[in-house]
């Protein structure tokens, strides 16, 4: 996996496994971006649509609802692009995948994969303790679903780091 700037775009190279995984992840993100804050599962709601800040600002229930709806609109505005990226990674390509993003869209891409990390952590109760695991044995002791979530979170972290490094020219 690596990301680089190329003629005013961001080019992300993925091997077969990474490409298949990212295809699935972008599909899950797209499906969940369609769901309204009041209808999404409570773990994802807490990760994406926390009303903690609204309570601290003493917003009324109506104001909080409007505020969350506006936040949902921001996610929905990126839905078409996410579906387009997911489609670009469809099918098995033994030689691997190349995903080309406009630089202006790189931020929406990063936000989407970061949203997946937050959602996976919330749904599988991945806390600081699991994030700080330092040995394979600790990871292996997790139930399979939590282990898979933790691995996805770290893999997407690597992708985020690659993209940020490419954007910053380092």
């Amino acid at each position: 996996m690596n990301a680089q700037r190329d003629k005013g775009t961001l080019l992300v190279h993925l091997n077969v496994f990474e490409g298949r995984l990212l295809h699935r992840i972008l599909g899950i993100i797209a499906e969940n971006y369609k769901v309204r804050p009041e209808d999404i599962d409570s773990q994802t709601a807490e990760a994406w649509y926390s009303a903690r800040g609204c309570r601290a600002a003493k917003m009324s229930a109506d104001e909080t609802r409007d505020w969350l709806a506006a936040l949902h609109q921001v996610k929905q505005a990126n839905l078409a692009r996410i579906q387009e990226w997911s489609a670009a990674l469809a099918g098995v390509k033994p030689a691997g995948y190349s995903l080309r993003l406009d630089l202006g869209a790189a931020e929406a891409f990063m936000t989407a994969i970061n949203d997946y990390r937050l959602m996976a952590a919330a749904r599988h109760d991945i806390t600081e303790a699991e994030m700080d695991f330092g040995s394979e044995r600790e990871v292996a002791n997790l139930p399979p679903a939590r282990r898979a979530a933790l691995m996805e979170i770290h893999l997407l972290a690597w992708l985020l780091e690659e993209i940020l490094a490419a954007l910053n020219g380092s």
Binding site: M59, L71, V74, A77, L118, M131, L164
Partner: protein, 104 residues
């Protein structure tokens, strides 16, 4: 840079009655924007968000990111209510944990 749609601020109306007070409150920079630590967001990503939303340079963004990381929170801006609400929504749209509160 990004073509991302940024939301309009939504918030509570000012709780004052006198026109003069309303104007004063609207322009008074007494709302703190606080970013909280979480175990998932990457330090490099938090720096990026601070630069993107708050216009910090890398050094300032890194200083506030380290405050979040080591102290659990960082006061990243003190602004008018309207501007604080805008930052609140923009920062949360990037997935960071953020609150705003009126300073005493």
């Amino acid at each position: 840079m990004s073509t991302e749609v940024l939301p309009p601020p939504v918030g509570k109306p000012l709780e004052t009655h006198e026109p003069g007070e309303k104007v004063k409150d609207a322009f008074e920079k007494n709302w703190n924007v606080i970013v909280w630590n979480d175990p998932v967001n990457l330090m490099s990503y938090v720096v990026h968000v601070f630069m993107r939303v708050l216009g910090f340079n890398k050094e300032k963004a890194t200083k506030h990111m380290l405050e979040v990381h080591h102290q659990g929170r960082s006061l990243v801006a003190t602004e008018t209510r309207e501007r604080a609400e805008l930052y609140h929504q923009q920062i949360q749209s990037f997935g960071l944990s953020v609150t705003i509160e009126q300073s005493s």
